[in-house]
């Protein structure tokens, strides 16, 4: 009896035991540090929770209506849309371009692949501070302003000027530098999966190498990779925090422009505001928006559908 129970628990050849030894700690961590806080946050969103995580004052949907009626929150969603509209196509084009270039290299391919991939290893915080302090500071000895000075142009306060909004150039370039290498590797994998026979057949049919082959063979064959890349880029854009916060915040706060949703929720819930109920409602709204956008986008692109 005891033997049967033990066998059932541990499974044949102790497979269940080893499964839980290896997977268990991660499941425990995921539950403790992800699912429990998520559930707790959803719970908090229905309470007046100023400076407390165990509130008693139930307010129903008040936090949700307050957050949806808050101009600063809706402005932060607009910031996200602008950021997505800038960063997704820019990263897509740059990483695909790099992948095509590296893929064609006859020599030193591994070297250039590494060179373009290396920025991925850099911290967003460090990169943002380099961009802010060394390259795009607003004074005469910043790198960008020094270059402008060579051409006799005026200095620009890159992060503080709202008309024109030069801060977007800083925000987009730092993320572009940090993430293009990663997506390049995804595209490289996609490119290497394309059968050489297709190119041979195209050549036999008289297709001109270059744009014509790219448009009719390479690009359609990268469809699955492209869908995954765009999906990841949009989700990552939604989660933007580090570079925005480190580029634009100071000890006294954050300017009202270029404030993405996570930065706004950070100030609402975890900053001095400590309005954990309102912040949680914002987090739930944001999670729902991300989920809806992802599902719609996935269905639109046909993610997971069998290739024809």
């Amino acid at each position: 009896m005891r033997g049967t129970y033990r066998r059932r628990l541990l499974g044949p050849q102790n497979r269940h035991l080893w499964f839980w030894i290896f997977v268990g700690p991660f499941v425990l961590g995921l539950t403790l540090f992800t699912y429990v806080p998520l559930a707790w946050s959803a719970y908090l969103s229905f309470f007046d929770a100023h400076n407390t995580v165990s509130p008693t004052d139930f307010v129903g949907l008040d936090n949700y209506t307050a957050m949806l009626g808050d101009d600063a929150f809706t402005d932060s969603l607009v910031t996200f849309l602008v950021f997505t509209a800038l960063i997704v196509p820019a990263t897509y084009v740059l990483s695909l371009g790099l992948a095509l270039m590296v893929n064609r290299l006859r020599w030193a391919q591994a070297f250039f692949r590494s060179v373009f991939f290396l920025p991925v290893a850099c911290s967003y915080v460090v990169a943002a501070l380099i961009w802010k302090i060394s390259i795009f500071n607003g004074v005469r000895f910043g790198l960008a302003n020094t270059v402008l000075d060579w051409f006799g142009a005026d200095q620009i306060a890159w992060l503080s000027t709202t008309e024109p909004p030069w801060y977007w150039l800083v925000i987009v370039t730092v993320r572009l530098w940090l993430q293009a290498g990663f997506y390049m590797v995804l595209f490289l994998a996609g490119l290497q999966r394309i059968s050489p026979r297709l190119y041979e057949a195209a050549a036999v049919d008289g297709a001109r190498p270059g744009w014509q082959v790219f448009r009719h063979i390479t690009f359609p064959q990268l469809r699955a990779t492209s869908v995954a890349v765009v999906l990841l880029l949009v989700i990552n854009a939604f989660q933007a925090f580090d570079e925005f916060y480190n580029l634009l915040s100071d000890a006294r706060g954050y300017p009202p422009y270029a404030r993405p949703p996570l930065v706004y929720l950070y100030y609402t819930a975890l900053g001095q505001g400590q309005n954990l109920g309102l912040g949680s409602a914002g987090a739930v709204i944001l999670a729902l928006i991300i989920a809806v956008v992802t599902v719609v986008q996935a269905r639109w692109f046909g993610l997971g559908r069998k290739e024809d």
Partner: protein, 422 residues
């Protein structure tokens, strides 16, 4: 004994699990324990001061206290956010330095009433900063030292441009324009153009307040829109330094010649003096309008006691010992490393460093034109709404009247919220 790979993995897993359980069950949370000598352990947090020697000084004070083993934590980064989050947990500080404590922390029962610590010394504490720490007649933080902000200017640059030190807001705007050249800007109000650091100071200069003594909105007045609207001119005329490597709290922009005038703190005075010698002067924020008056914001970091401390009596005794009884430490902390005004009036009056030159003028501004930098009823949500509006007014040229209407609505809703909790 030979050991198979499976047995080795099993043993390793067991050891790891034992270690994890041991550390999870450990009690070294920094709160509530007693040290080996049987003394209660009190954890005290400070924000990271820029002045060399301050950290060693506060550790020295802590070591000199007999009633508990005080462990000082010197915390860089977003200190206010760190403490606000830590107070929600059981592993936060017992005693902590706070620019507040904030009204939400007081109403949320996160800090201890410290009224009895002041006793007969209460009248000797600067009333402006004590008011900021008082709610419903009770004191929630003991002011340590007073910090103030003021306008620094380079005498030589003003003289070269034929500009007098400005005594009105219009004169300040005019001076900033005249002092702006290709490489030197006229005025530095922080890299954001001013909304963060100025707070209610321009309103004070127009004769208004963020919150009145009666606890009402103090800037529902056409003068507020008029004064704030003028600040846009500084931005539009490109007189403001923006994007400096260090922000307003550091006088580097002034000492490195990036700007002719800079809004900064009194703490920066020794650095400015060292770099510029006698070639600088200090001013309050200049008045605006017939009802206006020069203004400087004053505030104080204070010592607060967490309501979650397991050693409330010892923590309170320590705060009283350090910031009420040991006046020599307060004087040392205020004047030996950087430059601050002692919170005790008697100490401030007898401090030789605060009687002459620019420091003497600054101290006089604090007494004559000082306004509490942020009243207790000015909540974080109201501050964000006001700063956002000020940013849109200064940089975007937004209509000040419309922007202020929306801030007033937000601030009134916040006042209703906090008053409901009374």
């Amino acid at each position: 004994m030979s050991m198979s790979r499976r047995r080795l993995l099993g043993a390793g897993g067991g050891l790891a699990l034992t270690g994890a359980l041991a550390s999870a069950c450990g009690t070294n949370t920094g709160r509530g324990g007693d040290d080996h000598a049987g003394q209660p352990v009190i954890e005290q947090w400070y924000h990271q001061y820029g002045e060399a020697g301050t950290e060693q000084a506060v550790r020295r004070y802590a070591d000199a206290f007999d009633g508990a083993n005080v462990q000082v934590q010197w915390r860089p980064g977003n200190y206010d956010q760190q403490t606000a989050a830590a107070l929600l947990t059981d592993s936060g500080p017992d005693v902590f330095e706070a620019s507040g404590p904030s009204l939400d922390q007081i109403q949320g029962g996160q800090v201890v009433d410290l009224t009895d610590l002041l006793s007969e010394a209460k009248d000797d504490f600067n009333p402006t900063v004590l008011e900021q720490k008082t709610y419903q007649g009770k004191v929630w933080g003991i002011p340590q030292v007073i910090d103030m902000q003021l306008l620094y200017y380079r005498k030589s640059l003003l003289a070269d441009a034929g500009v007098e030190p400005p005594d009105t807001l219009d004169a300040l705007i005019d001076a900033a324009k005249k002092l702006t050249t290709k490489n030197v800007k006229g005025l530095f109000l922080g890299n954001d153009g001013g909304p963060g650091v100025l707070a209610g100071t321009p309103l004070n200069a127009a004769g208004l307040e963020l919150i009145t003594k009666d606890g009402e909105i103090g800037f529902d007045d056409p003068a507020a829109a008029r004064t704030l609207g003028k600040l846009h001119q500084l931005y539009a005329e490109k007189s403001l330094l923006l994007g400096a490597p260090s922000d307003w709290s550091d006088p580097a922009a002034l000492t490195q010649g990036l700007t002719a005038m800079q809004w900064s703190g009194l703490w920066a005075l020794p650095q400015v003096q060292k770099a510029l010698g006698e070639d600088f002067g200090v001013l309050p924020f200049p008045k605006d309008g017939a009802d206006g008056a020069p203004a400087v914001p004053v505030g104080a970091y204070g010592a607060a006691v967490s309501a979650k401390t397991k050693h409330k009596a010892e923590a309170k005794a320590y705060v009283k010992w350090l910031w009420v009884d040991r006046t020599e430490y307060q004087e040392d902390f205020a004047l030996r490393y950087g430059f601050h005004i002692p919170a005790r009036i008697s100490l401030a009056k007898k401090a030789a460093k605060l009687r002459t030159g620019a420091a003497g003028e600054a101290a006089r501004y604090a007494f004559d034109h000082g306004h509490v930098s942020e009243p207790l009823l000015w909540t974080a949500a109201a501050r964000t709404a006001y700063q956002d509006a000020l940013s849109r007014i200064i940089k975007g040229g937004a209509n000040p009247d419309g922007e202020l209407r929306s801030v007033i609505r937000k601030a009134q809703a916040e006042l209703r919220r906090v008053k409901k909790k009374n």
